[in-house]
């Protein structure tokens, strides 16, 4: 604010244009056709922001461009850029949730580093005044308002970082997906949160290093504590929430630097993540608070242990092939199990064989199928499934009643009819796919022993019109393909 006169108008304009490009990047995602153009807008926006910054803040020594520093910056961009490009090219589509978590952690860390750099050299960011009292060394005093913005930015960035690292470890299988419950965790978390906010308030009075670095340290700790108790199946919410945080961190830094590109972007990303979290919570019929409080799925896992002995019908790949070949319409319901066994390509092959027999194929996607929003759609797209064969829950649910075969592969709780009927069930009220209304349900599952993440038995397994196909998803689909001839 005190630097307003120092920033030329064209710079403000350039950052504004860059912000508008980011809005267009998200707008493009309203449909697959426009999305590719949207992504290019995003790149253009980023290029404008970077070039503008480099022009305004060219490293100088004695009036000339400081080539040594410019070289270091270029080296940092090349090293980071190469790692990014190689990772982006090599990563498997099934590993997308881990990758996104890892990327979130980098944004969080970058925000912390920028905050720390601004704290150590506030004059470079134009957020401080130099006060020179008579007969004593000069003091650099950071504006109180900037201290709050900086403190919040660092805190949110640190939470994003450590939370995303834990999310990454859980998604990547380095850490158990089961919730880890510490005693008194709510008290500890709330206490830490209050301490962080209190210290940021105190920071306006005293800009001592210990205040700044304690805020950062406590924020790292709370990010870790917040995600540890959340189970693997709640990851779609967690990953959306961290997405949101990475945006708020960028926005807070934008306030510190008075940079409209950062503020616009931060607001966009922040609301995007918040909306995705809301959609995921709604799809599980759970409140955001209860997800964040954590612990879901670890409690009632053994409640229905006796139910495993109930009679069910078991089928073979040949039975499945025969049933589907006779069908007019087959709806495929994929879930996380399909991702785990990488069955999407085999599944597409099966669908093609069936289409050649004159069977109509559709895919039904539950919003929380998989480990992140849109996870199943990406995997199906990777296997070349045309996106106009893929339907959302509300668009296809009424069709199961007129469908001959529902082919459930690697999904469980999202098909459980107990969510509609059994008030005592932990998933009661969650919107589910009405697969049981199809004439026949083929249910691909590794074994009868395991239950879904909610730890509830699925009534569907024991119905007369259900045939269990017990095997690894990919293996079973490959066998069906063989049986189809």
């Amino acid at each position: 604010m005190h630097e307003a006169a120092a920033t030329p108008a064209w710079v403000l304009l350039a950052y504004l244009i860059s912000g508008v490009c980011f809005i267009l990047a998200l707008r493009g995602l309203s449909g697959p056709e426009s999305s590719r153009r949207g992504n290019r807008f995003g790149m253009i926006g980023m290029a404008i922001a970077v070039v503008t910054t480099l022009v305004v803040h060219t490293p100088r020594v004695l009036g000339n461009v400081d080539l040594a520093v410019a070289g270091q910056i270029l080296a940092a961009v090349i090293v980071g850029g190469t790692i990014g490009l190689v990772t982006a090219r090599k990563i498997q589509m099934t590993a997308m949730p881990q990758l996104v978590a890892a990327f979130h952690s980098l944004v969080g860390m970058a925000a912390v580093l920028v905050g720390a750099a601004a704290y150590l050299n506030p004059e470079a960011f134009g957020i401080a005044v130099r006060i020179t009292p008579i007969a004593s060394p000069s003091i650099i005093s950071i504006f109180p308002q900037s201290r709050i913005e900086m403190g919040l930015g660092v805190a949110i960035g640190a939470i994003t970082f450590s939370g995303s690292v834990i999310a990454f470890l859980k998604l990547n299988g380095n850490m158990s997906g089961k919730p880890i419950l510490l005693p008194l965790r709510h008290v500890i978390n709330l206490g830490t949160l209050v301490a962080i906010l209190g210290l940021i308030a105190y920071f306006t009075q005293d800009q001592a290093p210990w205040v700044f670095f304690t805020v950062a340290g406590l924020s790292f700790a709370i990010g870790f504590l917040l995600i540890i108790p959340i189970g693997g199946a709640d990851m779609p919410v967690v990953i959306s929430m961290l997405n949101s945080y990475s945006g708020w961190a960028a926005a807070a830094m934008g306030f510190t630097l008075h940079n409209s590109a950062m503020i616009i972007t931060g607001a966009l990303v922040g609301s995007s993540g918040a909306i995705l979290s809301y959609i995921m919570c709604r799809a599980m019929n759970r409140s955001f608070i209860s997800v964040i409080a954590g612990g879901f799925g670890g409690v009632s896992a053994s409640a229905d242990a006796a139910a495993i002995d109930r009679p069910y019908k078991r089928g073979s790949a040949e039975d499945a092939a025969f049933l589907m070949k006779q069908a007019d319409q087959v709806i495929i319901v994929p879930g996380y199990g399909m991702a785990v066994s990488q069955a999407q390509h085999a599944l597409k092959e099966m669908a093609d064989k069936l289409k050649a027999e004159g069977v109509r194929i559709k895919y039904a996607i539950h919003p929380v199928a998989g480990r992140m929003p849109g996870h199943m759609n990406v995997l199906l797209a990777e296997a070349n499934v045309p996106y106009d064969e893929v339907f959302e829950l509300e668009d296809i649910n009424s069709e199961f009643a007129q469908t001959d075969v529902a082919f459930v592969i690697g999904a469980n709780d999202v098909t459980n009819p107990a969510a509609k009927t059994d008030k005592s069930s932990p998933i009661y009220g969650m919107p589910v796919l009405d697969v049981e209304k199809a004439r026949t349900v083929l249910f691909v599952k590794r074994s009868m022993g395991g239950v879904g993440y909610a730890g509830v038995d699925n009534e569907l397994f024991y119905r007369d019109n259900t045939m269990m196909l017990l095997a690894d998803a990919k293996k079973m689909v490959e066998e069906i393909v063989k049986a189809l001839g």
Binding site: M1, A4, F22, L26, L29, P32, S35, R36, N39, G42, M46, A49, T53, H57, V69, I73, A76, V77, G80, T82, L85, T87, A88, L106, V107, A110, A111, L113, V114, A116, A117, A118, L120, N121, E123, A124, F125, N243, S246, A249, M253, L257, N259, S260, M262, I263, I264, T265, G266, A267, L268, V269, G270, S271, L276, P373, G374, P386, Y387, E392
Partner: protein
Amino acid sequence: MDFISILSIFVLACFVGYYVVWSVTPALHTPLMSVTNAISSVIVVGALIAAAAAGSMSSKWLGLVAVALASVNIFGGFAVTARMLAMYKKRERKDA
């Protein structure tokens, strides 16, 4: 810019974000996450300022590390989004 102008930009951008994101088709929610990830790396602006500034060595090195981290995200985020979006195809229309 004074605080109120900045705050106005922020609040209005939140509203824009709200409406734009609701118009994103659910099938593209994963690319939405990866592209928002890439653009939130606009924080690189702050990192560049720190890396280019004279005055504090530690601040400069923190800036350089932040530039590298943000670059991973920028290049990786846009590239992986482009890779995903290229996979979304329409059904091939058969000539009847």
